[in-house]
Every structure is written in structure tokens, then in C-alpha cells.
Amino acid sequence: MATRVGIEVSIAAAEAVKQANTDVIAAYPITPQTHIVEHLSELVNNGELDAEFVPVESEHSAMSVCSGSSAAGARTFTCTSSQGLALMSEIVYAVSSLRLPMLMILANRSLNSPLSIWNDHSDVMSIRDCGWIQVFVENGQEVYDHVFIGYRVAEDRNVLTPFIINLDGFVLTHVIEPIEMLDQEMVDRYLPPYQPLYRLHPNQPVSIGCFGPPVLFTETKRAQDEAFNSTMPHILKGWQEFGDLTGRYYHPVETYKTEEAKVIVVTQGSLGETASIAIDTLRGEGEPVGLVSIRLWRPFPFEEFREAVKGAELVVVMDRAISYGGPGGPLAGEIRAALYSQEVHPRVVNFIIGLGGRDVAPDDFVQMVQQAKARPGEWYEIYGVRE
């Protein structure tokens, strides 16, 4: 059974971390992640969650604590945003190579400069190739659910890879939403205790984090690449079994009104819900427009994406980060790569939107679709800039 309550999304996420029976939390407060970590420290302090809460002096230390914690066999959680992620990134790359499962909620916020505490995706795009499984969520229910799914997938013996949930800062973290909270019995049924393959234990010593000389380094990277590319069926299994338990089924690529669509809008994160309103408007006017939301960012769901946009003539990709000197936004680059092998592929137009907390309204999506249709060629543009 489950209970539907009105709750701030950050608090719900923290409650899920508690219900997942997390052993160690190491985090440093940074806006807009703060409420998640504050609530967890309260839960630990009040004795409601039997976990170690390590109040570290920086995000670099947070991720370092997490690496030791996971290596010792503990279920491990951290949470950060923006500059915090940038500071911890050195260790972010290390833990995935060491195959240490853990869960991170990334409350997405733009990177300096100018200083901004508001939402875009430039933080996560800076660690695109870090070797963590990365998902985007559209609302509070999805982040609550993905805490359980994330742990389940990350700790799977066939996966053993850390997991990032991207949660848009403020527009999701700080809003109150109706969220269906799972009963503890359901959580326990879905999420078994973590059984590490190797761990730091005096009874069976191992060395973790050894150096890799040139004669071995490439072999270790091939092994990691193979392992990461083999995670997809286990991610799908995690989603399937969660759906069987709760009725909420998640997919690598979420689609909305894509049947017979000639134009497909592509988004990530919370903008998907806004865009769906524009899709309804355009469909109401007889325009064959659909929406694809990329939930799974890494491993990128190439097959599922190609299937979702089959038959489309125009794909309008919405990026919330810039790749300076690159092909547009990072998402558009990926989508062009996904479509390149197709004999006939749609024209790809790329808008960069919603930077540093700039609102994107449903009508903006309508405008962008019309502009993309009217102007030929493949191009990118930062949308909504005052000239």
C-alpha cells in the first residue's frame, strides 16, 4: 500500500533515502540541494534514521567519504549542485572506475560565472563522461521513486556502478507536490540489503584504487566500458520490477503523443511537463507534433530514441547547457550522433533554453517549433535573448 501526501520534493527525496535504509550520508550544503541534506541530518539526529551523517568540509571530501563508505560495503548517499559537483568531480570519476555503487541526487544548477544559484543543466553536462548511470526526472514522484530504483540498479552485482538522479533545482526541489509514499514493506520487498562483491574488511584484505601502468590501463578501461555498456538490461529490469510493484513504469525515453508525429520536441528533466502543454496546443491546431523526454542520459538509449522518433521529419532539441565551440548543446550532439547511421533521418534543430533559471513557458515551445519549421537547415540558437 502507499500513501499520497502533499510534501516538498526535497523532503520527499530525503524520506526516500531514509526508507532505503541508507547507511552513510556525506554531503556539504549548497543551494538548491540544501533541503534534502538538512532534512537527512535531522532524521539522523532525531534517531529516525540509523546512519552515519558525515558533515564534511567540502564536496571533494564528501565524495571521498562516499568512496570509502561504499568500499567498506555501506549503502551510500550524497547530494550536491553546480560548483559543489565541480569541486567533487575528481572523485566522481574515480568511484565509477572503482565500481563503487552509491546514489547522488544532483539538484541541477548553473555553473559560475556569472554566479547563479538557479537551474540549468551545465553542472551535470560537465561530468557527462564520468561513468555514472545518469537519469533525469520530471517531477517529485519520479525523484522519490528513483531513490529506490537508483540503489537497486547501482548495487546490482551485474552493475556495481554509481547512479546520479538529476533533479531540476528550485522548480522541482523547492515545490510542494502530491507524492505517493511507499510503505516500508514495499520498499523492503523491492530493495534488498547491499551485498558488495569486494569490500574493505580485515578478514579478506583487498587493495582498491591501485595504479594502472600503461601495460594494464587500457585493459581496465575496456573492462569498465564493457561493464557500463552491459548495464542497460539491468536498468530496464529495475524499472520493470518497480512498475510491477507500484504501477509506475519508467522508460529510457518517455514519449508523449509521438504517434504519427512529423515534428518531435526533445527535452530533459522538468521542462518535459511544460513542453507537453505546448504539444497539446499544437495538436489541437492539427499540427502533428510529439514530445520525447530523455530520461536515461547515460547509458544513452540510442535504440529507444531512434524508435521514438521514427517517421519524424524534424527533431527540435532543447538543451539547457552550452558546449562552447561545439555542435550546439550536448544533448543535440548526442541526438545527431544517434541519427547519423540512419539512411533517412530527420532535420535536427537545436535551441538552448532555460539557462540560469530563465523560465520557459508553454508558448515558448510553440514559438520554437514554428521557428524550427520555418527556417531550413540544421542550426542552433540561444532562444529568447534580448537583442
Binding site: L160, Q204, V206, C210, V215, L216, T218, T220
Partner: protein
């Protein structure tokens, strides 16, 4: 490790490149870093063991009779033994010589 390093395939790599047996560093050949090598003159050696103490790589063995032998599997040719030897029983020469 059962296999020499250059025969290890990616499938042999343990999850996370964990090393689950002790002493694996002993199979790591550092001798091929060497551009100079030590030359030992037994007649000048007073068996004081100074070179053994200073060698940073455990590349000097003390034999039963107290004289020494360089282990070129590990010796990086750093020359510390030659520098520290009080009688000049060890000199360091270029590998080409």
C-alpha cells in the same frame, strides 16, 4: 598474479581493478626504467651493508658471505648505492657501456 602483466586481457581484470591477493607489487618490474646500471667491485667491498640500507627499491641482496648482489629486475639505476658506498665498490655506468 598468475599471468605476466603483458598477457593479462581485459576479461582478466577484476571488477573495479581490485587486487585481491597480497604481494602483487613484487611482480612489477621496475628494472626496465633503468638508463644506468650499477657495477659492483667485490674486492673493494667491506661488507658494511650501507648500500642495502639506502636502496629505495630493495634491489640489493646481501649474500650469505656478507657481499652483495644487485637485483636488476627491480633496480631503477638511481645511483644512490654508488653515492653512499664508503669505499667506491659500486659505480654507476650508462646502460650502453
Amino acid at each position: 598474479m598468475a599471468k605476466p602483466e603483458n598477457e593479462i586481457t581485459w576479461k582478466d581484470i577484476k571488477v573495479g581493478f581490485v587486487v585481491d591477493e597480497p604481494g602483487s607489487a613484487s611482480v612489477y618490474r621496475t628494472g626496465d626504467w633503468r638508463s644506468q646500471r650499477p657495477v659492483y667491485e667485490r674486492e673493494r667491498c667491506i661488507r658494511c651493508g650501507t648500500c642495502y640500507v639506502y636502496c629505495p627499491d630493495m634491489a640489493i641482496k646481501i649474500l650469505k658471505d656478507g657481499y652483495i648482489e644487485h637485483d636488476l629486475y627491480y633496480c631503477k639505476g638511481c645511483g644512490i648505492c654508488a653515492e653512499e658506498c664508503p669505499t667506491g665498490a659500486i659505480i654507476i655506468v650508462d646502460e650502453e657501456e
